[in-house]
Amino acid sequence: MTVSLATPTDLRALYTDASYEPSLEEWNWLVHKAGAAYKSELSRRTVFESELFGMNTYILMSMMEDYLQVPARLRAIRQHATPTSLVVDDLPIGNKRSFINLAAMPLHYLTGRELFVDLGEIDLADGLEDQLEVMRFWREATIAARTDGVLFNMDADPPDSSHVVGESLMAEIRGRLLPADDELKTAIRKFGARLTAYAFLENCDARTAVCDTGPYVLEDGSFLALRETCTDADGDFPWVDGVRETLPFHHFVIAHRLPGSVRMDNNVWGTAWFTPSDYQADILETRVFCTDDGTLRPLGAGEIEAATKAIRSAHRALYQRLAETDPEERNLYATQMYAWKLKPWARLAGCYDEIDWTVTPRIAESYARFSDPDLALQLIGGVFVPQDRDGCFRPLGGAERW
């Protein structure tokens, strides 16, 4: 059985009308589109390993955990708030419900589905309602979050861009930018590098806390690039206990205005690539903002310096702690890190404590099996870069191929 890949007739409704309920064919069109973009991106990466974290292992475990847990958790959240209200009630940037978090929601969940199918534990026809629950939440929240009328970055204008900031917030950001002299650029570059490295460590070598939106093209041909980097402020990650408290700020947005001669390509999950790669010399205006209190507060030079020093100390402490942690425990942290993407949504919805966040025992125990690097690589490779299809995901509803 195959599924048609005909383009839906009413793309406007599919992309922008949260009240519209797509048909199964239209959902599958979105699944295929997402899977093809995901495969394209993943096939350009060769490394999913780290000396500190066995990435293939925790990717397997966390995405299978997503498949088991996410639908029920989303239903619990929906009991308290709609996806739209969760998005519009808060600042669209500088929090952990970022674009990258939202984009990962169906990608990780559907990867988990593929893994269970490949392992022979479920059939392609199983779990359709759960799968649609996840797709619906993602679509509604994405429609509310994006200001550019599409669901995927590759469809935006310009292509490979994402836009979540409206006009008034854009004006506020632009009004606070500072001319980028060498001293300021150096300070912000060092801060950004230190913060990014720490965010990767806190998130077990995943980039999920670093999210790019833009390019926001301006009237003079220059553009704004926004990088959100959010460390754990709320106690989501127990491995950061005692470290997070040493940081003066936790949620940041770094804004750069860049000339049109620099190109920014923003991939399907919100990681940007700049051409030329050493674009920082071209920055025209810049600013670091803190969003800890839900507003956009520009940081002064002294605050940036203090934050840089604090992040450096926190980094050392966390690294020491993780290096001394048993590898299996470390892997559990990493599994939790990915599998807990809904924690910030549940906190905002007010149902955090209603949800059991414990990793499913059989998933936690699967470490013994999936810590075999060859098996992990084989399983991950079969989903991320499958040889028999042009995307990562097979159709929903039972069909075997597109």
Partner: protein, 546 residues
């Protein structure tokens, strides 16, 4: 300097030298946290970023043996501005304490090398020439993708290159090479849309010229090669722009085999005949190409559709002469380019072989430069009768064109030195340019923008003169003039070797016997040429040699 590894630079970093330190576990990192690391080049196995993260910002450089530009380590090292090579293939494994240098050659290529090989502790021997040879011939034998493109994955040092050039072309290798050439050639011919010219009967003259190459090249090549080996000619020709271009080198092998294929198609030659002659010519082409390209590749497509044969100091000198184009300058450049291109096509009997783009050469600021050679504008080593009394302002011209690579989503220079870009208006993206005139005695003259219009005017005069000469010719004269245009292809190499007068340049009687029947007939010529090289059932354009 001994290159011991190549990888992809995470950004265009300046050259950095430091001492190697291996990091294999988090305890290695923790043990170094309080060390001075500014001159430490860290070597790690994989591309995660957390492993090195506590010290990453203080390192002098990083060598990662795995990973891509999209790996986390590449992202964060770029943020820290710490030089980093990812996906590094080490041909030697330096020990802790070895002094090494990292250099980003361009956006895609970075190298790791010893400044002084003798001082470096090394645990693994450098691969022998035999290893490189085996991998190089594997590359030759691989079919590639649907248009014959295949990644060139062999690290070839200058010593390796000498070793490859010195290799004997056995029967097996000859056939491998001919098949490689056929697979590379056929897609280019298939993609070419037109073989027509109002002035010149193209298929008759192309067929006659390549067939004459087959009839004459073995003897000509033997004379030239004996006076100066092909590899030495190749080395000399890569020292400056405006000399016999890579396209003429390419034709030395490919046109010769095209002639062979036409004769096979006509039933005048069996595939297993004249093998020693084929070996002589293909081996000449092989050594000439390897020495001229210098990187071990044989084709532009296998080098990522590039040809960067010019030495860095020459490119730097050419680029230093470029000037920012204002609107008037851009207009003058386009006019000059259009005029010279039109003239060059006519001079070379409606063929592109007088034009060659080399590059793109990456500039320190990240922009790219191509060097467009207009090879011969007047009397030259080609000794064309229609050019004998021309007096163009220069023997040749080179345009040095610098642009932002971000202006293009696709940029390819094919094996004929023709640039294909997307969007397709190359000159519209050029921000800085220089025009260099090549004087007859070899001197290079930088032309100021205000002089470009004068050159344009003078070339227009030469254009009229050449056009008049060709217009006055009858069909037969035009066919044989154009045939001669191609069959003089070895003259520039004979000129370098100093043996022009010792070679018989006349068209072979065996070739002349094929005119007027069948090659005065456009349809018959098209059928023979087309079916021989394109419309056959072989994977490539050329028949096996055994």
């Amino acid at each position: 300097m001994t290159t011991i590894g190549t990888g992809v630079p995470s950004y265009r970093f300046p050259r950095v030298t430091g001492r190697v330190r291996w990091f294999r576990s988090p305890s290695d990192v923790i043990a170094s946290i309080d060390s001075d690391l500014e001159s430490t080049i860290a070597i790690v196995e994989s591309g995660g970023t957390t492993f090195l993260s506590p010290i990453l910002g203080r390192l002098g450089g990083i060598i990662c043996r795995d990973g891509t530009l999209r790996s986390h380590l590449a992202i964060v090292s770029r943020e820290f501005e710490v030089p980093c090579l990812v996906g590094t293939q080490l041909t030697e494994v330096p020990e802790d304490g070895a002094e090494v240098t990292l250099e980003a050659r361009d956006a895609e290529t970075g190298v790791l090398f010893f400044e002084d090989a003798g001082a470096a502790p090394v645990t693994a021997p450098h691969p022998t020439t035999g290893d490189v040879s085996a991998r190089w011939w594997d590359y030759v034998r691989r079919p590639g993708d649907e248009i014959g493109v295949k990644d060139f994955d062999v690290e070839v040092t200058p010593a390796d290159l000498d070793g490859l050039i010195a290799e004997k072309l056995t029967d097996e290798r000859l056939d491998d090479l001919v098949q490689h050439m056929g697979r590379a050639f056929k897609p280019e011919m298939t993609r070419r849309s037109s073989f027509t010219s109002e002035l010149f009967p193209m298929l008759p003259y192309m067929s006659l010229s390549v067939i004459d190459d087959f009839h004459t090249y073995a003897e000509r090549v033997a004379v030239i090669d004996a006076a100066m080996p092909a590899q030495e000619i190749g080395r000399r020709l890569r020292t400056a722009p405006g000399q016999a271009s890579p396209l003429w080198i390419w034709m030395a092998g490919y046109h010769y085999l095209s002639g062979r294929e036409c004769l096979i198609r006509m039933g005048r030659l069996r595939p297993d005949e004249r093998t020693e002659e084929i070996r002589t010519v293909v081996d000449f082409w092989r050594r000439l190409t390897l020495a001229h390209r210098g990187d071990g590749t044989l084709d532009n497509k296998d080098a990522g559709f590039t040809n960067r044969y010019l030495p860095p100091d020459v490119v730097a000198e050419l680029a230093a002469g470029t000037r920012r184009l204002d609107a008037d300058g851009a207009k003058a450049l386009k006019r000059l380019n259009a005029t010279v291109a039109g003239y060059s096509f006519l001079y070379f009997t409606d063929s592109r072989v007088g034009i060659y783009d080399s590059g793109p050469y990456v500039q320190p600021d990240g922009r790219h430069t191509i060097v467009r050679d207009y090879l011969s504008l007047g009397p030259s080593a080609f000794a064309y009768p229609w050019a004998a009394d021309l007096h163009p302002p220069f023997a040749g011209l080179s345009l040095v064109l610098t642009y932002d690579p971000g202006a293009f989503t696709s940029f390819e220079i094919n094996d004929w030195g023709t640039t294909f870009t997307e969007p397709d208006q190359l000159l519209a993206a050029v921000t800085d340019a220089a025009v260099v005139g090549h004087a007859a005695e070899g001197r290079r003259v930088a032309l100021r923008p205000q002089e470009w219009a004068d050159v344009t005017t003078e070339l227009s005069r030469s254009h009229l003169a050449v056009y008049q000469r060709f217009a006055d010719m009858d069909r037969r004269e035009r066919i044989f003039s154009a045939t001669q245009m191609y069959t003089a292809g070895l003259r520039p190499f004979a000129d370098v070797a100093g043996v022009t007068d010792r070679v018989d340049w006349s068209i072979s009687p065996d070739t002349l016997a094929l005119y007027p029947d069948p090659f005065d007939d456009d349809d018959q010529a098209a059928a023979i040429f087309g079916t021989a090289l394109v419309a056959n059932d072989m994977p490539g354009a050329f028949s096996p040699t055994r």
